[in-house]
Symmetry: C2
Subunit: 108 residues, 2 copies
């Protein structure tokens, strides 16, 4: 997989995004909750600000799965790790996919 290195965290390039990896990343209820929170956040929330019912290490694992699938971008700022949805990249590769899944999650 092609990857670019950003402050030691690897991210797949837009062209390297895989549909199956994105669907797998979004198939976990906790990860989907994280993504919904990111979609509603105007800024880049730090890992600590997510309200999810899992341990810190499990949370770190979920962020890693989301980042490696190309769903989120993470960058280090001091001691905080900031997170952002890769909405433009996902929309370019899989038009409508993220929006449709977020809508389906909101309708439940």
């Amino acid at each position: 997989m092609n990857a670019v290195i950003t402050t030691e965290l690897s991210h797949p390039t837009r062209e390297a995004l895989e549909l199956s990896a994105v669907l797998h990343a979004l198939s976990d209820p906790v990860r989907l909750k994280m993504v919904r929170y990111l979609a509603s956040s105007p800024d880049e929330p730090s890992c600590r600000s997510f309200d999810v019912p899992v341990t810190k290490s499990t949370c770190t694992h979920h962020f890693k799965v989301l980042r490696e699938a190309g769903v989120i971008h993470q960058r280090q700022q001091g001691t905080a790790r900031l997170n952002a949805l890769r909405e433009e990249d996902l929309a370019a590769r899989f038009p409508g996919l993220l929006a449709t899944i977020l809508q389906a999650a909101a309708d439940r």
Copy 2:
């Protein structure tokens, strides 16, 4: 999970479909290939007619995951097990989801 029994095979009801289970079912490349084949089939193809690079038992497992997630309906006809996409149920519960994923898979 609510389920109705059809010729010994259990299927979740439309109301019991879970987004995370559907996304998980579709996150496997082989299962997604099966679903694409079903989406393009006018009839109900039997399990034997799927051209996928896995053993028969793995194929049976994949069909089971798809059925239990509510993505496909299976029914027994003599010695053949016939398969159909639950397009109406999926569209009712998660509007646009299946179509968007099939489109994303086709664009690759």
